[in-house]
Amino acid sequence: MKLKKITEKIMNTVFFFCGMVAIASVMLISVYMVLSGLPAIKEIGLTNFLFGKVWQSTATEPKFGILPFILTSAYGTAGAILIGVPVGLLTAVFLSKVAPPKLANTVRPAVELLAGIPSVVYGLVGMIILVPAIAKAFKLANGSSLFAAILVLAIMILPSIISVSETALNAVPPEYEEASLALGATKIETIFKVSIPAARSGIAAGIVLGIGRAVGEAMAVIMVAGNVANMPKLFGSVTFLTTAVSKEMAYASGLQKQALFSIALILFIFIMIINVTLNLILKKGGGGEK
């Protein structure tokens, strides 16, 4: 009897600790990001750091301005969303509402497969096919550019946008659609005027998820973006927040290294904001259906 009670207590404690691992991990990550990111910001000065336009980390008089990276990440993500969302959303609509079931069942696994392809593979193909193709198509000396990165990211966020949007579209009560059809709307009109607006919180969640992925991607981007610390230009060589960190981390030392951690901290803060937004949208979406 005693033994049983003790085992019960022990197991309870063990499981409690398992449960705490997630909390501990997030705390660990936050603490490390802040601790390692703050010193350089202190030394450089927050405004100089965030709004400085020049990054020359190894110059004799080093400059640590990460505005180019921030803007590049913002533009790159926006561009990827601009391309990925229409294609993704339309594909989701196609799968959920228009496609004959057989066709949908062929396209859907294809989408899942896209999600499973490792990012280095995207980078590799981007580097070999996309970059030269862009150079050729736009008559550029150099195809490694923000534009190349945007295309790669757009493809990479497609699966999450498609699958989340499709789920949201499938959850739209059929009564809405019936009502619209009964008023003399065509199927397409119904989808775009009723179904999509009704599914918008789910679709928004998919977009935010896509933003998160795009902001955080490093390995595919580093292979196609050119990686020069320029202010963003569509057909110019650029550096994202992620690639700024991974590019120099291996060789960095001293303040340069600390500054890289500061970039990571900024990236981390961005991502946390996106996560919280996502959570809010999802919560709202769950409650708003009534």
Binding site: T58, A141, N227, V228, T239, K247, M249, Y251
Partner: protein, 268 residues
């Protein structure tokens, strides 16, 4: 002495031991850590060393020169590897040059330019010259491709051409192979890469008439070059297997290995 491994009882965990009898019975682990461009040289040396000394396990962490130097200073590795000379601020360390590495200036195979002066190279890199026809090539924009800040190769290139902080790159790539690939793919590109890695796919030009070869690097006539260093803590007695590995790298008998790995042995 915060050396992390003890010399005893760590068995080798490699399968590459060739079965040759070792001169002296060495055992333990030699950890090396640092420059990625030294991968080939260190890899070859380690492989050969372990063939001779079945009991020793040489490990290599390609973390980058900066990290390698730090690791050596902190004692978390036995030998730090650096593809650049130690800076004045990096004190308390001994750097042993084990090899020299030519930095080949490479252009696309379709590019007719065969030779450039150091000054021309500098101007190409800083963007003073923007068209190939200004240096005897065909009409076309110059696409300068370089390494990321902190790279030993970049450090070497920019010191010799004396353009530190002034280079303007169209792309900054994080590794030698990527530079070669990018130059291969772009008819207007020019870049620089460790001589050891340059293959038929791109064209290495001559600098002031001197071709980048083992001999020209060694005698110093080929100017664009940098040293490969093994970094240890100053004034510390190294464990026998660590010392043996450094000696092995410096030995004349093993110069062949370094040559085969594409670098130039430091000992003449």
């Amino acid at each position: 002495g915060t050396s992390n491994t003890s010399a005893s009882d760590k068995p080798s965990d490699t399968v590459s031991s060739g079965g040759t009898t070792p001169a002296t019975e060495l055992s333990g682990k030699v950890s090396t850590n640092g420059s990625t461009s030294m991968e080939k040289v260190v890899g070859a040396l380690a492989e050969a060393f372990m063939q001779q000394n079945g009991g020793v396990d040489v490990t290599y962490d390609p973390t980058g020169s900066g990290a390698g130097i730090t690791a050596a200073a902190e004692g978390t590795t036995d030998i730090g590897l650096s593809s650049r000379a130690l800076k004045d601020t990096e004190t308390g360390l001994t750097g042993t040059v084990v090899a020299l590495d030519g930095i080949a200036i490479i252009v696309n195979k379709a590019n007719p330019v065969k030779d450039l002066s150091v000054e021309q190279i500098a101007k190409l890199a800083t963007g003073e010259i923007t068209n190939w026809k200004d240096v005897g090539g065909s009409d076309g924009p110059v696409v300068m491709i370089g390494r990321e800040a902190g790279s030993g190769t970049r450090d070497g290139f920019e010191s010799i051409t004396d353009i530190k902080d002034k280079a303007k790159y169209a792309q900054e790539l994080t590794a030698t192979g990527a530079i070669i690939a990018a130059v291969e793919a772009n008819a207007n590109a020019i870049g620089y890469a460790s001589l050891s890695a340059v293959k038929e796919t791109v064209k290495a030009i001559t600098v002031e008439g001197v071709e980048a070869t083992e001999a020209t690097v060694q005698d110093g006539t080929y100017k664009v070059q940098r040293p490969f260093l093994m970094i240890t803590k100053q004034g510390e007695t190294l464990r026998p297997e660590v010392q043996a590995f450094i000696d092995f790298a410096l030995s004349k008998d093993n110069a062949e290995i370094i040559v085969n790995a594409g670098a130039v042995p430091a000992v003449k």
